[in-house]
Subunit: 156 residues, 4 copies
Amino acid sequence: MLNKVMLIGNLGADPEVRYMPSGDAITTIRLATTRRWKDRNSGDRKEETEWHRVVFFSGLAKTAGEYLKKGSQVYVEGRIRTQKWQGQDGQDRYTTEIVAESMNMLGSRSGGTANYSDNNTPPPSSYDQRPSAPSSSSGPQSAPASYDDFDDDIPF
Amino acid sequence: MLNKVMLIGNLGADPEVRYMPSGDAITTIRLATTRRWKDRNSGDRKEETEWHRVVFFSGLAKTAGEYLKKGSQVYVEGRIRTQKWQGQDGQDRYTTEIVAESMNMLGSRSGGTANYSDNNTPPPSSYDQRPSAPSSSSGPQSAPASYDDFDDDIPF
Amino acid sequence: MLNKVMLIGNLGADPEVRYMPSGDAITTIRLATTRRWKDRNSGDRKEETEWHRVVFFSGLAKTAGEYLKKGSQVYVEGRIRTQKWQGQDGQDRYTTEIVAESMNMLGSRSGGTANYSDNNTPPPSSYDQRPSAPSSSSGPQSAPASYDDFDDDIPF
Amino acid sequence: MLNKVMLIGNLGADPEVRYMPSGDAITTIRLATTRRWKDRNSGDRKEETEWHRVVFFSGLAKTAGEYLKKGSQVYVEGRIRTQKWQGQDGQDRYTTEIVAESMNMLGSRSGGTANYSDNNTPPPSSYDQRPSAPSSSSGPQSAPASYDDFDDDIPF
DNA sequence: TTTT
DNA sequence: TTTT
């Protein structure tokens, strides 16, 4: 019942943003996580880089598309999803990806706004997707990417 | 920016349920997690049990209060919170607890309804708190503990 | 740098155990995690089951092969790994799996030994893989499945 | 049985390093995690900072003591531990802390060696504690802080 | 006491 | 393809 993925890594390229007929954004990134270890016998340092396809929906997609870029370090939390599709040869293929449920930009101490676009929007340091909440960022060209549209108020 | 706790353990006692003036429930449990290891030198088996105070709010509180009981095995995800208070001697004291953000009852394959109260409500196997959503379970004595009141629909 | 997966689910079939030339076991399971939610518009209950291929090595493989079976509920922690291979048509294919780093059998209070094989070995409730430690449980037919072969002693 | 904590935060002060009679280091940090949300009714932005006491042992303690400093952003994984002690008034007191099991320095792209001490040691970007392995980095002034002393080799 |  |  639990299907949770937590990644900290760097983007191999700028995000790709697509749009749904509804106007909702879908953003995809390629995220590298590198594991380092010493070989048990030889003592050699080894490393292995794993590339993850991460998909963001709704408000998260907008934020990811705006603030992430090639090289960014990011924390992503989400779930694993494997999708089945048909190759041109008619055979089944499977693609596994991470559906992001929240993200956090990391290491943004150094630059401040310099890491982000040319306006002076405060950078999103934390964002939690709340798919059920009404998409409050109404209308085109609303205020730049409020990255915390939803309430999180817990009594007491 | 990340403050996440994940526990799998058993309740040491039945949940305690309190009510706010607003009528919202607040449920508290004591959860045991046991770590087992072998002593490096002696080779002896060792074990250590840690007790956690876990607090549930809103809809989660209702569910936890209804379905959990002494001995139940449960997965809890949440965050750490330390609260300061004053002892009678005027000195500062600190209490650390886990604020639950979601939970999952475990091991409920065997019994089905037997693990729960006397009605034949299907047991809640997964529940995600969405504090911002309106508390839809309207009115007293509504249908027994809808444990997934909120939408989670993600486009595509 | 972080690549972490946490799953709680049930096995869709008995584990498959293979052996390396070295004699080490490699165990593979198919694990189902089910997500439930309500459709935002229709209000309908929905659910989606995701199947994960989980691979265990070394001591973990032995334990998983011995104690897990079809239907078992288990907690698995590990990392995502995608492997590339060639189809018969010469095209690249990718398979994503979870490399297990620790596991926990769940819900085994109720049943006790009934959930396990015919001897009265206590069930493994927690196991941490320590790949670097020597595989101490040497020889055939050693004491039944010591599931915690390695030291975890932390000073103080 | 699972007792896992994952934190990403910033150090409020330089680490404190103590030494055991055995010579092993024990390092303690204060780590801030900040949660931000919007008030449900007023719509006001709110934030709350939680301070965590994190304790590192063995090799991890050495690394944490050497490379972390006030303001550093770090990922810490560990477990919750509550210790009981007696106040001067003879009453029981409890202190909850996080026992670190691994850590990762974050956001160190910008600075490179500038974030670290005056030698040109490569910064530790990932470190996993393996308490059971022999503390191989023996002797004073050994090669500067090998942050991955232990083997992690997993057979295919 | 950190950080954004 | 990223990063250290």
